[in-house]
Amino acid sequence: MVRIAALEVHPTGCETPAMAYANDVGGMHGFGELPEGGGPTFESVWEAQTFVLNQAFVAAGAYTLDEFRATMERIPPAEYYAMPYYERWLTALEHLVGEQA
């Protein structure tokens, strides 16, 4: 099971740019060439369903897009990079709705 740490809040009340997490990859080296081909939007049904579920939970006010992003970013880096893209979404979604696997 992936453990996502509680979101730490800076004492000044989140007034300053925070540290970088695994998602903040702009400029990094080492990720290699782009995936081959045009790349389908979704490779499996569960990916599309995860995508739509997240939209629906945000629209229903269960959490904000920022809470979703913040949760996904706190997946520990080694696990984060090992996960397929939409598994990160799924992991964050489960965490936010209290349904951890």
Binding site: N23, D24, V25, G26, G27, M28, H29, G30, F31, G32, E33, L34, P35, G38, G39, P40, T41, F42, E43, S44, V45, W46, A48, Q49, T50, F51, V52, L53, Q55, A56, F57, V58, A59, A60, A62, T64, L65, R69, M72, Y81, Y85, E87, L90, L93, E94, V97, E99, A101
Partner: protein, 208 residues
Amino acid sequence: MSGSGHHRNGELQARVNRLLDLAEARGVITRPEVDARIEAFGDRVTARNGAEMVVRAWSSPEYRDRLLADAGAAAAELGHQGGGYSSDIRLHAVANTPGVHNVVVCTLCSCYPLAWLGPPPAWYKSEAYRSRVVRDPRSVLAEFGLVLPDTTEVRVWDASAEARYLVVPERPEGAGALSEAEQLDLVTRDCLIGTAVPTLPARIGRTA
């Protein structure tokens, strides 16, 4: 390898099934609604919407001005409402010119004008694209087969807040003679992201 991938998909599907049940039980969304939205991504909410906006801008300078001033309103004129996650998400169009080429990325996650164009392609979400296109855009564009002259300025747009970017490519020379449907086919999804430019098929391209 494919066997373990298959097994993994089954496990992930089972996790999603639990969430689908939970969402239905909490009144968030029903399964038929989930299916309908997925269908819309193959059908109504696609890159074709962006192509329509671009082709209209090619033929109408007034529409082009409106598109560059307020892309969300210009999209709505053609029936593409956007919406989705949050009213903070707004569409912005950036135009290529003879000396400027634009390309879009989201380095912090994978923000994309999905409410207008559908979800992004797999490569757009990859760390390979997101890490490198801000540092070395020309090598990324070259991987797409797009080699720009040294004199062209590359402008990378990193969608780090809730602005969503759409590139308005230039109309290739000779495309004015094509039908609207043929012009729409020139404006691919990658043209709207900026990793490609519209190219005329050889039979109607400039020939000697």
